[in-house]
């Protein structure tokens, strides 16, 4: 593909715009990303009154992810737009820190998410999955997002955190508003949920973040006098007794776990269902040979790429992919592109449940910020596929998906599905 493009210096090539959120209402603009990948080196992409280096090749995403000394998460922001210093401080979570803060905060939660500790949740995940699938089948289908993709991950993360399951719907609602905040349209007024904080001080500029902070604060007070065996108690303990995290770090951690723990996995489950419905032959291969469930889950993750990019900021003048980049420049790692890199994935636009290469970047390109919840998300996906396979449950898509207006999350707001018991 590269040979068909002339060798004009990367920075002056007419680059397709991949940041317009409305583009994503029709799905990831893969054609634009293919054009960007065809450029040797990095492409300069205008954005607002500045721009960023678009990192679209698998190898370059890996390099940026794994060299945090050169590519900072703490400077500016890890989303496209810069934040003012006070806003960044108010909104800073694990994801927007560098070592040593990152190391300290990550250690507080990492133990709960190791492969072994996550495996202890398998029965919980299975029980939730069985309930949801039974209901989906007995209703003869409906909105897959509402019935399965959204409730599964949120119920699981809320159980881990220790949040009462009755509050799941409320937190899903908040999470949906946060997703809007990643686009350019908010459907709720600035004072929704009794918010009085300036929106720029809230994650995703959303009043729903205020509500989530308040909820987390309520739980903190509750747990302070009554520690339980749950993740919130663990954080509260770290926050109050050991002073390992500040109050602001606590509420941002709570916010991050709720948001990251459900929005992304929901997206994977939604795109997974759409892919399986669109490729019944691929699902039949899994039904015939259940040992493909792991590779099918990895392929769903690659296919879905629920988080389409993360941004870093260059700490010293350096070179990336043969392009000189300067201190202070923004680099944006487009996982959506790296996961279709034709030099890494054979026939990347084919959904292949037995794909041998699972080196996708759905969870990021590695390095210290590698998704904390990766094994939890994998567990949820594999248990869901196992339970669907046990029922020989095949899916038929009954309506077009309504997609999130966002260049950041590859969200699906709704998509109709109907069960069939044989393909």
């Amino acid at each position: 593909m590269r040979s068909t493009v002339d060798m004009t210096p990367a920075a002056t090539v007419e680059t397709p715009n991949v940041t317009d959120p409305s583009l994503y209402l029709r799905g990831i603009p893969h054609g634009c990303f293919a054009q960007l990948r065809a450029i040797d080196g990095l492409a300069w992409h205008p954005y607002e009154d500045g721009g960023f280096w678009a990192v679209t090749h698998h190898a370059d995403v890996r390099f940026v992810s794994r060299n945090p000394e050169l590519f900072s998460s703490a400077i500016g922001h890890t989303n496209l737009w810069d934040l003012e210093a006070d806003a960044l401080e108010a909104r800073r979570s694990l994801i927007d820190t560098d070592a040593p803060d990152h190391t300290r905060l990550r250690r507080l939660v990492a133990g709960a998410f190791t492969p072994k500790n996550i495996r202890l949740w398998e029965e919980t995940v299975r029980a939730i999955t069985i309930d949801l699938l039974d209901e989906f089948v007995s209703q003869g289908g409906g909105d897959w997002v509402d019935m399965v993709a959204a409730p599964l991950p949120i119920q699981v993360i809320l159980t881990m955190l220790g949040v009462p399951v009755e509050d799941a719907d409320y937190l899903v609602e908040l999470s949906n508003y946060l997703v809007e905040g990643t686009g350019d349209a908010q459907s709720i007024p600035p004072d929704a949920f009794g918010n009085t904080t300036e929106l720029r001080l809230l994650p995703f500029n959303s009043p729903a973040s205020h509500a989530l902070f308040e909820y987390g604060e309520g739980m903190r007070q509750h747990r302070q006098d009554d520690l339980q065996d749950d993740l919130v108690s663990h954080l509260v303990q770290a926050q109050s007794e050991d002073e390992q995290m500040s109050r602001s770090e606590y509420r941002n951690m709570f916010h991050l776990l709720v948001f990251a723990g459900n929005e992304t996995t929901r997206t994977a489950i939604s795109h997974g269902a759409m892919a399986l419905a669109a490729s019944p032959g691929e699902w039949q291969r899994v039904l015939d040979d259940r040992s493909m469930i792991n590779s099918a889950a990895e392929e769903i993750l690659r296919w879905a790429t629920p988080i389409m990019h993360m941004r870093r900021t260059v700490t010293t003048d350096t070179e990336l992919a043969g392009t000189s980049i300067a201190k202070g420049d923004k680099v944006v790692m487009w996982y959506a592109s790296a996961n279709r890199d034709e030099t890494v994935f054979e026939d990347p636009f084919r959904f292949d449940v037995s794909r041998a290469n699972s080196d996708h970047f759905a969870f990021g390109g590695g390095g210290p910020h590698l998704c904390l919840g990766a094994f939890l998300a994998r567990l949820e996906l594999t248990v869901l596929l196992e339970e669907m396979a046990k029922r020989s449950l095949c899916l038929e898509q009954t309506s077009e998906p309504v997609r999130a207006r966002s260049n950041f999350v590859h969200g699906v707001l709704s998509v109709g599905m109907q069960p069939r018991t044989s393909p």
């Binding site: 992810s65 794994r66 133990g111 492969p115 072994k116 590698l370 990766a374």
Partner: protein, 71 residues
């Protein structure tokens, strides 16, 4: 794959970020400790060169080094 050359994997525990990828790829060979969240090698740590390179390459912390085994 000439002669099935073996490499020994070694973990630099200073670099390990506890991502658990090694344990996912080779569950018999790596073990991520649940408390300190650092991986270590269980057993002899020997893998065919190609697989060893893949495991090292996938390590998010670049913490896995390969040592040539004399046989």
């Amino acid at each position: 794959m000439a002669g099935g050359e073996l490499m020994r994997v070694v973990i630099d525990q200073e670099l390990c970020i506890g991502g658990g990828i090694c344990e996912m790829l080779e569950p018999e060979m790596f073990e991520l400790d649940n408390d300190v969240v650092i991986s270590s090698v269980v057993g002899d740590g020997l893998l065919p060169r190609e697989r060893a390179e893949e495991v090292a390459d996938r390590c998010p912390g670049r913490a896995i080094a390969l040592v040539q085994e004399e046989i």
